[in-house]
């Protein structure tokens, strides 16, 4: 059987995996990144919105092709149709870019390749290799059959459906409260405001929201997510999205260019993402914002820290859980508080009735809002209508 030897094997070439591979290789580690699909970035499983501040945090200059659309702000729409418009300035650049993931993901993988990382496509990890109980790489299947990638560290960047963590003994199981199931069309021939990302909240998408992220003048990613706990019937997600589209005059005549299904975690930070010779990053580490369901930024930011940690480990030869603590601590320092707070806010948000959501949005339209974060929004409401956000007292 063929055997490849390396310092680090990264399983999954999404944004988190590629960013990990890039910074690990940049720091001198030998890196092999495997991707089960035949093409990086496709099929897209994402609504493709990111905020601009991410780019500096991972030293990334987007190519023109990476960007489908730059927007001017966001609109949050209440159940009965009140529209809160948040300009880019107010949102502190929090909204900004609708990506073209087909190009964006390849760009990130190219940056990893430029640093010397190897890339293997159509190659799946099917199990962990162990030497005397110690994790020693992955068993993989590629176009020429089964082989071994012997590595000092396995990076699970294998997405929502992650197996790496579970195989290694990290519990990434999610409660039905902490999963959102999603369906999206890329719709063309629609009559939208192409300069704003739209979020509609309320009982049409309990525990989630409907998004419209413009790709160009008359095309947008239109999708809907619902908390798993609230789902009863099979296929409910797609049916709810179809219903929403048929009722919205701007969308009803739209034609689909693609369909995307998927799920995201909306959980509190998990207890550990590192064990001896293995770490998790991105969706597999459940590093997702529980309010927005966004994962690209967090995955890339954590990926950089993981990569830098792995480069250091390659120098010292210490890939033990203790040696990898720099990553565990590092990503928590920058992401954990916000993820935890937004998870608490989500737990409360899902309980609000349409009536209360309407009142909150109306209050916000009246008082204005300084930022797009859940905290900023709730603080704005609390100033004038503390009774509306009574539930969130601890959070504030």
């Amino acid at each position: 059987m063929k055997i490849i030897e390396t310092d680090v094997v990264v399983v999954g070439a999404g944004p988190a995996g590629s960013t990990t591979a890039r910074f690990a290789a940049k720091g001198g580690a030998d890196v092999v990144m495997i991707e089960k699909r035949q093409e990086i970035g496709s099929p897209v499983r994402c609504a493709e919105g990111i905020s601009k501040p991410l780019l500096d945090k991972i030293d990334l200059k987007l190519d023109q092709k990476d960007i489908a659309r730059q927007v001017k702000g966001a609109k949050i729409i209440s159940p009965s149709g009140h529209v809160l418009t948040i300009s880019e300035k107010q949102a502190g650049n929090e909204v900004g870019i609708v990506l073209d993931r087909v190009f964006f993901d390849k760009h990130l993988a190219k940056l990893a390749a430029d640093e010397g990382a190897e890339i293997l496509l159509k190659t799946s990890a099917v199990g962990l290799l162990k030497d005397d109980g110690r994790i020693a790489g992955v068993r993989a299947i590629g176009p020429s059959g089964e082989f071994e990638i012997r590595a000092k560290c396995v990076v699970g960047a294998d997405g929502f459906e992650s197996q790496i963590g579970r195989w290694g003994g990290i519990d990434t199981t999610l409660s039905p409260d902490d999963i959102t199931s999603c369906f999206q069309y890329r719709l063309t021939n629609i009559d939208i405001d192409p300069d704003y990302c739209e979020f509609t909240i309320g009982s049409m998408a309990p525990g989630g929201y409907v998004w419209i992220f413009p790709k160009n003048e008359d095309t947008a990613n239109v999708g809907l997510g619902i908390q798993l706990k609230q789902l009863k019937k099979p296929g409910e997600i797609k049916a709810a999205l179809d219903r929403f589209i048929s009722k919205d005059k701007r969308l009803a005549k739209g034609k689909p260019l693609d369909m995307v299904a998927g799920a995201v975690s909306i959980c509190a930070p998990i207890e550990k993402t590192v064990i001896d010779n293995l770490l998790l990053v991105g969706d597999s580490a459940r590093q997702i914002d529980p309010i927005t369901g966004g994962g690209i930024s967090n995955g890339c930011i954590a990926g950089r820290i993981a990569g830098e940690t792995l480069a250091h480990a390659a120098e010292t030869g210490d890939f033990s859980g203790r040696g990898l603590q720099t990553y565990e601590q590092g990503w928590r320092d920058v992401l954990e508080n916000k993820q935890y707070r937004n998870w608490m806010a989500k737990e409360k948000l899902v309980k609000l009735s349409d009536d209360v959501l309407d009142k909150i949005i109306q209050a916000l339209i009246e008082v204005g809002v300084e930022g797009l974060s859940a905290l900023a929004i709730l603080q704005a409401v609390a100033k004038k209508y503390p009774e509306l956000v009574e539930e969130f007292k601890d959070f504030l």
Binding site: K36, R37, R45, K122, S124, G159, F160, E161, S162, Q163, R166, T173, L174, P176, I179, S181, C182, F183, L228, L231, K232, K233, P234, G235, E236, I237, K238, M259, V260, A261, G262, A263, S265
Partner: protein, 70 residues
């Protein structure tokens, strides 16, 4: 076209509807579902909780009549 109906007695995955998105795989509390390049399959660890049936965004998974939770 691949048909994998009744691969397992508690659930059945309609491969013609399935989009291989992995929603069921990441949701399964028993890690009994796997996503390979173009198939999703269930194994004997399935306990019949049917969370996969609910989470599937397009309704590609159904309960097999008579399948029991264990």
């Amino acid at each position: 076209m691949i048909h994998m109906k009744n691969v397992f007695q508690r659930i059945s995955i309609d491969q013609e509807i399935c989009m291989h998105c992995g929603a069921c795989v990441g949701t399964c509390p028993k890690n009994a579902l796997f996503l390979h390049d173009l198939t999703v399959a269930a194994d004997e660890n399935c306990n019949g909780c049917l969370l996969c049936v609910r989470v599937c965004p397009i309704g590609a998974i159904e309960k097999v009549p008579g399948g029991k939770r264990r």
